[in-house]
């Protein structure tokens, strides 16, 4: 927790215990079986276990099925415009560093229209949790190819299958200077999801988590194999990453990966026959942008004194 920004909040009792239900917002309107439901539960569980203070938390999103997320969490929320969740969240955190900020995006949101912001948000390294709910398709607008759609997978805009090889969000992320936390998990591995979210929240910096998300309506086939065949999954395990007994039991393939090893992280992030879940990279030493840029607050009186000096400098 950062310093209280006002003495008024200092005086208030902070020992209130927030119950899981208190994080429940509106009734989710996602399709039945949509992976977003499981992600929402995982997030709420994490909020409760981390005792995140609801009124000091903001969930920010863009536009898409996934971007409805803030409406379903009972904290502050800002459901913005398509692709711009990250700059919105950046503005919030830069000006109110004491707020706990989450950004929720779809793959179109983050990797296509918002791709520029994505790169720069990684570089700014503002302390927040950024969740990419990656269903490999445009859901809300009904089945158009996204940058992460597997090559050959048909959609309404590419009926004969996506023309291009899919973008790998992990290698992109790990290639950006100053990336400080990169992880991948899946909606169908609830305990791993929860542990990953927790690690992301605890990391001080921009925590990027790609969550493989099933869209039973438009991409039912894409993750089917991964769900049915645990041997397709390989877990990255390390004490500095994520340890999750349930997942380690279910998924027999493990790689011991030290998240401080960026080169190894990049290698593991390459597309392969395995889907790798876990923390690829974590570097807590990177300064966060809101700390680097942080300035104290001044009173009106002090500001006027500065202004007076500024006017002196321009006096004739």
């Amino acid at each position: 927790m950062s310093d209280p920004c006002s003495l008024l909040t200092c005086g208030e009792a902070t020992d209130r215990q927030v119950a899981l239900e208190e994080y429940t917002g509106g009734l989710p309107r996602w399709c039945p079986g949509c992976g977003d439901h499981a992600i929402l539960s995982g997030v709420q569980r994490m909020l409760e276990s981390e005792q995140v203070v609801p009124e000091r938390t903001v969930f920010v999103s863009g536009i898409g099925c996934s971007s409805r997320f803030p409406h379903y969490v009972k904290t502050y929320g800002f459901h913005g415009i398509h692709g711009r969740a990250l700059p919105l969240a950046t503005g919030i955190k830069l000006s109110r560093p004491e707020l706990d900020v989450f950004a929720v995006m779809g793959d179109g949101d983050c990797c296509s229209i918002g791709a520029g912001h994505w790169i720069h948000a990684l570089r700014y390294n503002v302390d927040m949790v950024a969740l990419l709910l990656d269903n490999n398709i445009y859901g809300l607008t009904k089945n158009q190819s996204s940058p992460t759609t597997p090559q050959g997978h048909p959609s309404n805009t590419a009926p004969d299958g996506a023309w291009l090889p899919a973008l790998n969000p992990l290698t992109v992320t790990l290639g950006v200077t100053n990336a400080s936390f990169v992880a991948q998990t899946a909606d169908w591995a609830p305990s791993h999801l929860y542990e990953t979210l927790r690690a992301a929240h605890r990391h001080r910096g921009f925590s990027f988590v790609r969550i493989l998300q099933r869209c039973p309506v438009f991409t039912p086939g894409i993750f089917m194999e991964a769900v049915r065949k645990p041997e397709r999954i390989e877990l990255l395990v390390h004490d500095d990453g994520v340890r999750d007994e349930a997942a380690e039991e279910l998924y027999e393939h493990h790689v011991a990966h030290d998240p401080s090893d960026l080169n190894e992280a990049r290698r593991l992030a390459e597309t392969s026959e395995h889907i790798r879940l876990g923390v690829f990279h974590r570097d807590p030493s990177r300064p966060t942008y809101e700390t680097t840029r942080r300035l104290p607050v001044f009173t009106a009186e002090e500001r006027i004194a500065v202004l007076t000096r500024e006017l002196d400098r321009h006096a004739v």
């Binding site: 800002f78 913005g80 000006s95 720069h120 002090e302 004739v316």
Partner: protein, 638 residues
């Protein structure tokens, strides 16, 4: 015929270098231009001359002459860089007509101004003569060709051995010629030498003592040379005033206004001519805890500003045409979510990349209507550099009180113009207070609209009991997404109502001149000084013309329809595009008019005409007089 006085012919008949008592020209105003290759310091010279003139009690308007490229080839037409300084016995509100005195560091720079028709017929030109006998043959040829072209004009050109004289003090005359020129100007205009040298020291405060010393020496040298060799002096009477004054350009004024208003956060992406606001603030803002966030693009900039404002800090963004285009969608978001936001648009020539460094007033309709869907917002335009400072305080206050977007339309003319104005008296009440963080009262809603006014109180994050989700989708007063007809109708009505309410707080704009007459000129933004000066001149010639200047463009100030009815004709004067009536194929029905004209006709059902130019320059009062006479059926213009 232009007369040229050469150094080798000191006894020429009309030689202004003759010794003896110089002729003094007393005049209520004078326009001087100093032009050089970029990097030779003409701008610094002009700025100091302007500041000293202001200190001595002249009205002053200084404007930069900016080359189109960063490092244009030297001695080319495109490299003319410098300042125009207009000084007057009374207040000076614009850059005037044509230059009465030109100091040129090379003949190409002079030619550039000549070709732009920027020089008065009877102007005196002080021209560096080193190029005439330059070793390089092609330079000599260029000189001759230029003299040939200039011979058609009627200027009086005086050759000055700037380089030669400067080399007696410094090794590299390129750095320092400007101070020599400043010295000449100090002699010509009887500027106080000590004050000028203080100003030189101030301008060079980051340089070494040696540099300051040699610059002062060059100044003395120029002053002495002029004393000895020039036969004319210009006397623009000064009226020392006791009011403390400050001098700055419009962008510095906007930046300082942001400090005065208690702004915390500027998010921007570099774009001429808006960027210098952020240059100023990058240095000064941190002293009051303010952040300048240079975002990855304009979309990120405006969105980050919306985020900061949503979070309870006061935020703004600064941009110009192309950047404004990118911010469109996000501005709709700010309007829809009723997030206060001040958007400063320093207009430049368009469309597209257009004229990056030049003035235009072409973003008015984009500001009003540029966002899809109904996006009511407040638009205001400062008319002077002083107003650039003060309007930010007001804009910030309105944005927060009305939970809306407030546009401030400045332009390249104000951005680069430098003018002294009465020193503001800061009031701590200008400064935004920090948002209330107390628990939200029972029953309070994020859009608890007062049905009559559309106003509601904001709940910023951090307040216990207030957790809700802001959304750019249609929403009810609890910020719940709702597409039902009634809810959407209501949301639109509430956001629009705020404008009607705000308009009720506005006073009708004053009329410059009589309350009725043959012609009313209507302007907005930076053209005020030139329009009013033109109206004064026309009135002095007996024309029944008045003007009014609009500050609020959305909503429009009240009382216009009634005001317009008292004049035979109404005409806007603007720096944006309109078809001329006589253009081929142009009819009353298809004629595309100036942007304010368009707006006034649509809103007021009055037959408003327009006279507009897109010549990339501030309007000169003389041209407006011609336009007035033309509309009155006197002149010859169409």
């Amino acid at each position: 015929m232009t007369s040229i006085t050469e150094a080798s012919r000191p006894d020429a008949g009309n030689d202004p270098r003759a010794t003896g008592t110089p002729r003094s020209m007393k005049t209520p105003e004078h326009v001087v231009e100093i032009v050089s290759d970029s990097g030779e310091g003409a701008q610094k010279c002009g700025q100091i001359f302007g500041a000293v003139s202001a200190m001595m009690g002249n009205g002053v308007w200084t404007v930069e002459i900016i080359p189109a490229e960063i490092q244009p080839p030297p001695r080319s037409i495109g490299s003319a860089s410098g300042n125009r300084v207009r000084i007057g016995a009374g207040p000076v509100t614009n850059w005037g007509d044509r230059a009465n005195l030109v100091v040129a560091f090379n003949e190409q720079a002079l030619l550039a101004r000549h070709r732009l028709d920027a020089i008065a017929d009877d102007a005196i030109v002080l021209l560096e003569e080193m190029w005439a006998d330059h070793d390089d043959e092609s330079i000599r040829a260029e000189w001759s060709a230029a003299m040939e072209e200039l011979s058609a004009a009627t200027y009086r050109i005086v050759r000055v051995p700037m380089e030669e004289r400067c080399l007696t003090v410094v090794d590299d005359a390129r750095k320092g010629k400007n101070m020599f020129v400043l010295g000449m100007l100090a002699t010509i205009y009887a500027r106080d030498a000590e004050r000028t040298k203080d100003r030189i020291d101030q301008a060079l405060h980051k340089k070494s003592d040696d540099v300051r010393r040699s610059n002062r020496a060059l100044f003395d040298l120029g002053a002495a040379w002029a004393e000895e060799h020039l036969d004319f002096r210009v006397d623009v009477p000064t009226a020392p005033n006791d009011r403390p004054m400050v001098v700055m350009n419009g962008n510095q004024a906007l930046g300082m206004g942001a400090i005065a208003s208690g702004m915390d956060f500027l998010a921007m992406y570099p774009i001429t001519p808006a960027t210098s606001v952020s240059h100023y603030l990058a240095e000064a803002f941190p002293r009051v805890g303010g952040i300048v966030h240079q975002a990855e693009d304009e979309i990120a900039a405006v969105v980050a500003a919306i985020g900061a404002s949503y979070a309870g800090k006061t935020a703004f963004t600064v941009t110009s045409g192309p950047g404004l285009a990118l911010k469109t969608e996000a501005l709709g978001l700010a309007v829809m979510t009723e997030t206060p936001l001040v958007v400063i648009d320093v207009q430049r020539g368009g469309p597209s990349t257009g004229l990056p460094t030049k003035v235009e007033q072409s973003d008015l309709l984009a500001a009003l209507f540029g966002q899809p869907g109904d996006t009511p917002k407040i638009v205001l335009a400062p008319a002077t550099i002083e107003e650039c400072f003060h309007c930010v305080v007001t804009a910030r206050q309105i944005a927060e009180a009305f939970r809306t977007v407030v546009f401030v339309l400045s332009d390249a003319n104000l951005a680069t113009g430098v003018q002294p104005f009465p020193r503001p008296t800061p009031d701590p009440r200008w400064v935004a207070t920090l948002p209330d963080q107390r628990p939200v009262e029972e029953g309070a809603k994020p859009y608890g609209w007062d049905e009559r006014t559309g106003l509601s109180r904001r709940i910023v994050p951090g307040r216990p009991g207030g957790a809700y989700t802001t959304t750019g989708l249609a929403h009810d007063d609890e910020s719940k997404i709702d597409y039902s007809p009634a809810v959407n109708e209501k949301g639109c009505r509430m956001r629009s109502r705020k404008l009607a309410v705000f308009q009720q707080t506005l006073n009708p704009p004053p009329i410059h001149g009589d309350d009725e007459g043959d012609l009313l000129v209507v302007g907005w933004g930076s053209t005020k000084g030139a329009i009013e000066e033109a109206v004064d001149r026309a009135r002095a010639d007996g024309r029944r013309v008045s003007s009014t200047h609009l500050t609020f463009l959305s909503p429009l100030e009240p009382g216009l329809k009634e005001m317009f009815a008292r004049f035979e004709k109404v005409m806007t004067v603007e720096i944006n595009y309109s078809d001329r009536r006589a253009d081929p194929f142009v009819t009353e029905e298809n004629r595309r008019r100036g942007q304010l004209c368009w707006l006034l006709r649509a809103q007021l059902l009055v037959d408003v005409d327009c006279w507009t130019r897109v010549h990339g320059q501030p309007l000169a009062p003389g041209r407006i007089v011609e336009a007035i006479e033309d509309r009155l059926g006197i002149g010859a213009e169409s």
